[in-house]
Every structure is written in C-alpha cells, then in structure tokens.
C-alpha cells in the first residue's frame, strides 16, 4: 500500500503567497507581543552584562566554584548551550542528507538557534578562565615567550578548535541558506534603506541556474561536512570530562551519551522556540505545522530514552567494574547530598517525555511546550550532576567538599537566556524565519499541483 504523504505546507498557497507570508514579519512593523518579549529579553541581557562585568572586575571568587569543585556553573552552562546548538545542525544538515523534506520549514530557525546558542555558550569558558583579557592564550600564535605553544594533548584545547570550527561552519551554513532569501526581500523592497541593506546581505544573488547548480552542490557539501562536525563537537566536549581520571567522568560511554543528550536538549529548545514563533507569527502555522511538531516530539522521546539508557548503563558499568571509587561516585549521585539534582534530571529527561507515547500529547501545543521546558531544565541538571557530583567527592574523603552556589551563578545562568532570546527575537524580525527558497520546492508535496496558479 502506498501511504499518502501529508502536505508540508497547509492552505492553498501559491509561490507568491509563500514570499508574502515569510517576508511579512520582516517588512511590517512588529506586533505588541514581539516588543514585550524583546524588551524583557533585552532587560535580562543588560542584567547579564552587568553580572559578567562584576564577575570579571572582581574576580572568579564571586562564583560558587570551590576546591574540590573547581568546575561550576560556567562549565555546566557552557555544555548546556553547546548541546542546544546540536539540534539545529541535526535538522539542517543530517536531515538534509537523509532527504527529510519536512525539515525545510523548521531548518532556518533551528539553525539560528544553533548559531545563537553557540555564541551564548562561547562566553562561559572565557569567563571561567578567570582572566578573560588573556583568553588569546588559548590560541597557538607565535609569541615572544619561546615561542611557548599551547598543549595539543589537552582535551580543553581540542574544545577550543571544535567549538570555534563549529561556530564558524554553522554561521556560514546559515548564511549560505539565507542568501537567496535576502535577494527575495531585496527585490520586494519598496524603500531605499531596506533595498540597500538586503542588497548587501544578498551579495547580488540573482538566481541563475548556473549559480543554483554550484549553490546546491555547496549546500550538500556543507551538510556532509557539518554532520560529522556536529558529532565531533559534543564528543570532544565529553572528552573534557572522559579523558580525566575522575570517577564519574572517566567512562567510554560519554561521547555517544553526550551527543544523544545534546540532540535531546536541542530539540527541547526547538519546540520551546517554535511554539512561541507560532504564537507570535500566526501566519507561520501553515508552514510549521502540528505534523512538524509531532515529528520533533518523537525525536525528543527517542533521545530521552537514549539518555535514560546511558544513565542506567553508567550504573551497571560502575557495579560491573568492581572499582569501589567508581561505585561510590554513582551511589553518591543518586543518594548523596546532591540526590535532588540527580532525581530532577531523571524525572525531566526520562520520565516526563514518556507522555509522548500518546498521540494527543504529541500534537498538543500546551503539553509539548511544558515538556520542552522540563527537558531544558533536566538537561541543565544533567550537566550539573556530571560536573558537580563527580568533583565534590572523589578518592580521599579528606578532600571532599561542596559546591557553594552563589547569587552570581544564578545571575549568569539566567542572564544568558537574555542574550540568547534577544538575538533570536532580532533574528525573527530581521531575517526570513523560514527558508523561502527551500519551502517553494516542497509546496506540492502531498498535494496535487495545478488549478490554483498560472
């Protein structure tokens, strides 16, 4: 039996309707909701900048890191934001290679999320170094101290290369996708200012088939390069932990476990953002349909169970290894002083997404919004559990200690959302939030062409 494909774009639309719908938010003044969200986000951003400034000016002592918990909120939140970025690349690159046409209408916003999440993440290790004005020491540049080079055997340095490559390639991939759409806005523009701005952004794109031929080839190549790249990034982030000898960190399951967790958290954030986009711009409901949201909810549940499997597997291996320190690290996670963080993590990541077994839950906007918030919370706590509970009790009880969460940890964590949402809201206003040139070719998927245009 041949199953009928569901239409990817709802409503009886023509190519012109697509241009009109998607360019609308860019061309018209934004609504009250947008301003409300933008000013809230911007207030939070200002608060964030003040908090960072205070921490940098005064010193890392303001944050809650202690001895032995030398990695705290900065590293936890860095991994959290980097992870969120992964869903964007998964949607834009991996699903492109798998010819998943439903990705077209969500890819642009998911990629924007990637770019902004990686930008938000990148700030944290720079603060964590304690003396951010010397952060250029992270790069291998010729210097007058020998030259003394960076240590290429350190996973922390691999991370510098992985994250900066990931940020660069994500931005380029996103921009290449945007070029034809900028040209559309340029040609529709009535005012001189808009024509100039989008004329510059479009780089003079005119849509010749000879150009499309190179363009499509490069798009595919970027997708093929971004796919192993995204897997490498969270693998290398997990090496920051796994290459050490600390019980709770020194496990071989970390790379796949981190990648699954990253995709899980990223899809959580995609759902959070897209539900808000659908409310803010009702016209996008025809493009980002409930079917799209349902597919992503299925991915959330699947990857949620994958991380659940990883949690269980870590316990099994700790027991099976026969190493008392390793066994204690895991017993301590679930029952020690930080038991609450472990159980928040398990509840949010493994138990709550199980509601998506029910089709009604997968297709309900309020339910998926609430679940996605829990996923975000749960994934932040996962990194907290990994980082803090492993560090606070290692081998010698005489060197045990606790993490001293301070008000600056909270300020920097919550403030970073201000940066992320400010960037995302500006993007929604200034850039076409759905790929115009990619949606048009899938307009007739699941429909019969003809009749309503020509």
């Amino acid at each position: 039996m041949i199953m009928d494909r569901k239409p990817l774009v709802l409503g009886n639309k023509t190519y012109k309707d697509i241009s009109d719908d998607i360019c609308g938010p860019v061309e018209q003044p934004p609504g009250k909701e947008w301003f409300l969200m933008f000013f809230s986000a911007k207030a939070l951003l200002l608060f964030y900048l003040i908090s960072i400034g205070t921490v940098i000016a005064t010193g890392m002592g303001l944050m809650g890191t202690t001895n032995p918990v030398n990695w705290g909120t900065d590293i936890v939140t860095f991994v959290f934001w980097i992870g969120i970025g992964h869903a964007g690349t998964l949607i834009s690159a991996v699903l492109f290679l798998f010819r998943q046409k439903w990705r077209t209408s969500v890819a642009r916003s998911a990629e924007a999320m990637t770019v902004f999440a990686v930008m938000t993440a990148g700030i944290f290790p720079l603060i964590h170094t304690g003396r951010p004005w010397l952060d250029f020491w992270l790069l291998p540049y010729p210097n007058q101290r020998g030259p003394l080079w960076v240590n290429f055997r350190s996973p922390l340095l691999w991370d510098v290369f992985a994250v900066s490559t990931y940020a660069t390639v994500s931005i380029v991939f996103w921009y290449v996708g945007l070029v034809p759409d900028f040209a559309t806005i340029r040609d529709r523009a009535t005012g001189k200012i808009r024509k100039t701005i989008y004329g510059i952004l479009s780089l003079g794109w005119r849509g010749h088939t000879r150009h499309w031929s190179h363009y499509e080839m490069v798009y595919m190549i970027l997708a093929a390069l971004a796919t192993p790249l995204v897997l490498s990034v969270h693998t290398i982030v997990s090496f920051d932990f796994a290459v050490s000898n600390l019980p709770g960190w020194h496990t071989t399951i970390f790379p796949p476990y981190f990648v699954a967790g990253a995709i899980f958290s990223g899809f959580g954030m995609v759902i959070t953002l897209l539900t808000l986009v659908r409310i803010g711009f009702p016209v996008f409901k025809d493009y980002i349909t409930i079917d799209h949201m349902e597919v992503m909810n299925k991915i959330i549940m699947t990857t949620g169970m994958l991380v659940g499997y990883a949690y269980a597997s870590e316990f099994f291996i700790a027991w099976y290894s026969g190493v008392p320190y390793e066994q204690y690290a895991f017993i301590n996670r679930a029952t020690g002083p930080y038991w609450w963080s472990y159980w928040i993590m398990v509840s949010c990541n493994v138990i709550i997404p199980q509601v998506f077994w029910f089709k009604a839950a997968r297709r309900s906007i309020p339910i998926m919004f609430v679940v996605s918030i829990f996923v975000n919370i749960g994934m932040w706590f996962e990194r907290f559990v990994i980082t803090v509970t492993s560090l606070h009790r290692d081998f010698l009880p005489s060197s045990w200690g606790m993490y001293e969460w301070s008000i600056f940890d909270a300020a920097i964590l919550f403030g970073s959302f201000g940066m992320f949402f400010t960037l995302f809201l500006l993007y929604l206003k200034g850039f076409p939030a759905i790929s115009i040139a990619e949606v048009k070719p899938v307009l007739y998927v699941g429909k019969k062409k003809g009749g309503h245009h020509g």
Partner: protein, 173 residues
C-alpha cells in the same frame, strides 16, 4: 558576466519553463540560462549545465586542512619547542586527531563556500535585475548577446512560441 545586453522571456509556471528550457537547449543554444526563485528540479539538465566542480575544491582543501592541522601540531609540539607533557611522546598522534579533524572540516567548508561565490561571480554590487518577481514567483529564460548567432527577433519569436508570457530586452545585464 560582464555588463552585456540580451533578451529574456518570463514564465509563471516552473513546469512550463522547464520544458521550454529543454527545447532551447535542443535548438542549439549554449549560453542561455534560466533565472528562478528556487532551484527547479531538473533545470540543470534542461539548460545543459555540467556537474559543479566544487567537490574537487572541497577535497583538495580538506587534504590541505588536514596536513596544515597535523603539521601545526607536529611542528609546535615536536620541533619548535618540544615540551615533555606527562611523559607522552612529542608527536602524540592519537591526541592530535581531534584538532586535525577540525581543521580539515574548517578548510574544506570555508573553501567550498568561497569557491561557490567565486564561480558565481559574487558578491556583485547592485547588479541590474530583469524583473523583481524573479526571486519570488516568476521564472525567466535569459539569452545573452554573447550567444553564437544572436538574433534578438528570432529569439523573441522562439521564446513566445515556447509560451513566454512576457519578453524583456535589456542593454545592460
């Protein structure tokens, strides 16, 4: 493309222009091109465009990035100032793989994009535009003056026969 004139026919249906393009190709036109708001499936064959050579750029620059990344690590860790870090070999190949991989991807990706823009002659400052709807919902076939045996009237007739809804002659494009 230098600023030269030519003639264009405009369609509003992508299936019809696809047929028209294939007929233009069969009629012996070599330098004509289609202008479409999105990549129309099958248009490359219809216009008679060969496969893009960008994968070669990706391949060569990927190899270059790989060599550059590994070379940088080898030279800094084992030649320029060989430091003993934890008793590991100066040239610790397994530990050098992640950075080598990242530089491979970085070189390959950036060069492919640069090659794409270079081959397409972009960025171009304020290029003339045939019709503003060609990046939205209309499609055009464009024949430049440089086409061998260019005869505007003959081409206009052919474009009309092929179903063009509108004909545009421009002196600068």
């Amino acid at each position: 493309m230098a600023k030269k004139g030519g003639i264009a026919g405009i369609w509003s249906d992508d299936d019809k222009i696809l047929e028209a393009a294939a007929k233009m190709r069969d009629a012996g036109y070599k330098k004509f091109d289609a202008i479409t708001p999105f990549p129309v499936h099958g248009m490359e064959e219809a216009v008679g465009i060969k496969r893009s050579m960008i994968p070669w750029v990706t391949f060569v620059m990927g190899i270059t990035g790989c060599a550059a990344g590994l070379g940088l690590q080898y030279w800094t860790s084992a030649v320029s100032w060989a430091l003993n870090v934890g008793g590991k070999p100066f040239f610790s190949l397994p530990a050098f793989i992640p950075v080598t991989f990242e530089t491979t991807v970085l070189f390959a990706a950036l060069s492919s994009v640069i090659a794409m823009f270079a081959l397409n002659g972009l960025p171009k400052v304020n290029p003339p535009i045939l019709h503003p709807d060609l990046t939205s919902h209309k499609f055009a076939l464009w024949v430049p003056e440089t086409e061998a045996g260019y005869d505007a009237d003959k081409i206009e007739k052919l474009l009309k026969e092929l179903g063009a809804e509108e004909i545009k002659r421009v002196s600068e494009y």
